[in-house]
């Protein structure tokens, strides 16, 4: 039970950690000041939520573990985030496409997680939901502005939407830990909102005058710890300090 619960929480929290790290790379590199600040604010929200989840995991693990152990001291195969969030920033269209695909999912997920019979998870979700509704508004807005913008912004947004599309289906795959937690009334059954997810995505893409991709081949692996070639580089940067100076504290 405890192992499954920890794995289930990691499946949610690692998405926020890795996406937060990716967005953090843009600090000082956004296309303009307002967007730069918005992206790093979203990163901060995600890392804050990650801390709440990791503090809970550390408590479940006991043995003096802390949130830092969970964030920094695992090997690549032990991170359970989806492939979508580890994809590189490339150009701004890619940043927005990744954010948009994730935000729609994230919102629908934690909206349901509020009703978890695990009190701590429900509280973290309730808190996070208010923040995520701002993220979703931001990314949907940019999909529309770029899609329905100039011919060049339209073409670049379409390119990013097509390219990141193959990572969306993995959001709805269930691991053994997910299944166990759904049965226990702790976890959310993601298949319940798969349809609403693609409806919402389609609605925004239509408004943005973009074409909904019809690619049927999807990538997967992250939820089982098998990551894309980008993950090693993310972790090298993320873990550098703790690996070089073990147990370093601020």
């Amino acid at each position: 039970m405890k192992d499954n619960l920890i794995k289930y929480i990691l499946g949610i929290a690692d998405n926020s950690l890795i996406l937060g790290q990716r967005l953090g790379e843009l600090c000082g590199h956004g296309p303009n000041l307002e967007t730069d600040i918005a992206l790093t604010n979203i990163s901060l929200d995600l890392l804050g939520q990650t801390r709440n989840y990791y503090q809970y995991i550390a408590k479940l693990k006991g043995e003096g573990k802390t949130e830092d152990d969970i964030a920094f001291m695992r090997s690549e195969r032990e991170y359970l985030n989806v492939l979508l969030v580890e994809q590189p920033n490339d150009h701004f269209g890619f940043v927005i496409a990744r954010q948009f695909y994730f935000d729609v999912f994230h919102y629908l997920l934690i909206d349901r997680l509020q009703n978890s019979n695990d009190e701590t998870l429900a509280a973290i979700a309730k808190k996070g939901l208010k923040e995520v509704s701002y993220h979703l508004r931001f990314s949907s807005d940019w999909v529309k502005r770029l899609g329905d913008g100039t011919p060049e912004s339209h073409q670049k947004m379409q390119e990013a939407i097509n390219d990141r599309w193959v990572f969306t289906n993995e959001l709805f795959l269930k691991t053994a830990a997910d299944e166990a937690m759904i049965k226990a009334g702790v976890g959310v059954d993601v298949s319940e909102f798969k349809e609403s997810y693609y409806q919402k995505v389609t609605q925004v893409l239509n408004e943005a005058t973009l074409t909904v991709p019809d690619e049927k081949y999807f990538q997967k692996g992250g939820k089982e710890g098998i990551h894309s070639e980008h993950m090693g580089y993310i972790l090298a940067e993320l873990q550098y300090m703790q690996k070089s100076y073990p147990n370093l504290k601020w």
């Binding site: 307002e34 918005a38 901060l44 804050g48 973290i124 808190k127 508004r137 931001f138």
Partner: protein
């Protein structure tokens, strides 16, 4: 991690009022509504605070400042972070809202009005400098996670708006 109702023992308020948000120094933690419980148990002051945002970097500082404030009056305090019920801008007191406005930050509207405003449908946010409602959203995220960036079209001043949560 959860609690029922806000409960602050009267004699502790004066000390708690000396602590303010490091990012909005005009707002005390009492006016901000982040103190959810404060009581004396066996000579130790127990204080529960709730974060405004999950990633709010001010929380660690506020926790330390509370301990310091009680230490200054010769008391030992412990601070604990609670998440539920989640903080809402409705908990900012009317004194707090006034302090925000005087400081140049527009106070939060109701959640439904907030949505209309940030989506650019309605002009309801009053410029804290000239009180004009001819204001526009520049960005939904401002200098901190809890604020949006606005511009007044009359006096041309940019200003922060405290978002509804």
């Amino acid at each position: 991690m959860t609690y029922q109702k806000q409960y602050i023992e009267k004699e502790l308020i004066s000390v708690l009022e000396t602590v303010s948000d490091p990012e909005i120094p005009v707002l005390t933690i009492i006016d901000m509504g982040v103190v959810r419980e404060a009581k004396k148990v066996d000579e130790i002051i127990k204080v529960s605070i709730t974060p405004t945002y999950s990633g709010c970097p001010a929380m660690d500082v506020i926790g330390d400042d509370i301990i310091k404030a009680f230490d200054n009056v010769g008391k030992k305090a412990i601070v604990d972070l609670v998440l539920s019920p989640a903080w809402t801008t409705d908990w900012i007191t009317s004194k707090g809202r006034k302090a925000l406005e005087d400081y140049g930050i527009a106070a939060p509207l109701s959640p439904s009005a907030d949505k209309e405003v940030l989506l650019g449908e309605k002009r309801l946010v009053k410029c804290p400098n000239c009180s004009s409602t001819k204001t526009v959203v520049v960005s939904q995220f401002g200098s901190t996670a809890c604020k949006a960036l606005f511009k007044c079209e009359d006096c041309k001043e940019p200003f922060d708006y405290f978002k509804c949560l």
